[in-house]
Symmetry: C2
Subunit: 114 residues, 2 copies
């Protein structure tokens, strides 16, 4: 693993972990400090920080430090990219399916064409 052709791969990989998914969920309600974010997770801080860094690398969040507090902010644009990728695949599939249905409906009509 570890090599992603498209940046969207990084986003999916980042979201493919329950801790990180929960962090994103929490951040959708607004920016939160690392310390506060970490509370619900039964995990040492350094372990938690690794997840934060991965989310940042994937572009899903940005962080900035003021004093000794680092605050995390969701980056909805990254999610939009993933969303678009998924939507595009479904679209291709659905178009194809529609064409197929149209073909079936028109190639063997019950009544011969007048």
């Amino acid at each position: 693993m570890a090599k992603y052709a498209l940046p969207v791969g990084r986003v999916f990989h980042a979201l493919g972990d329950p801790t990180r998914q929960a962090v994103v969920d929490r951040l959708s309600a607004g920016p939160v400090s690392v310390g506060e974010l970490a509370v619900p997770f039964e995990m040492a801080l350094p372990s938690f920080m690794k997840h934060i860094r991965q989310l940042e690398l994937a572009g899903l969040i940005t962080t900035s430090k003021v004093g000794r507090v680092r605050t995390c902010t969701l980056q909805p644009a990254a999610m939009a990219v993933a969303e678009s990728w998924l939507a595009r695949q479904r679209e291709v599939w659905e178009r194809r399916t529609d064409r197929l249905e149209h073909f079936v409906a028109t190639s063997q009509p019950r009544e011969p064409i007048a």
Copy 2:
């Protein structure tokens, strides 16, 4: 890892690998046999099959065997679930941002309200 609260976690994890993402991309164009699907990947068949099984477990594809050929079919519903999750998070974020903007715009007006 390996425990997902929501099935959507499994979907993200499955898509978080370039091989599997490429397979999904290919399958959006229509069902393909395992053998054909495997061709573009420089990988032994057993390795490739593991990816297929993971995609199936995530619900992203279904497979069925006819004779000695197993054919893979995309399951757009699973993608829709992931899409919805992403859309929901963004929605929450955007609603909050809108409220915030509204607050800023109304609480300190430049001109006093007539």
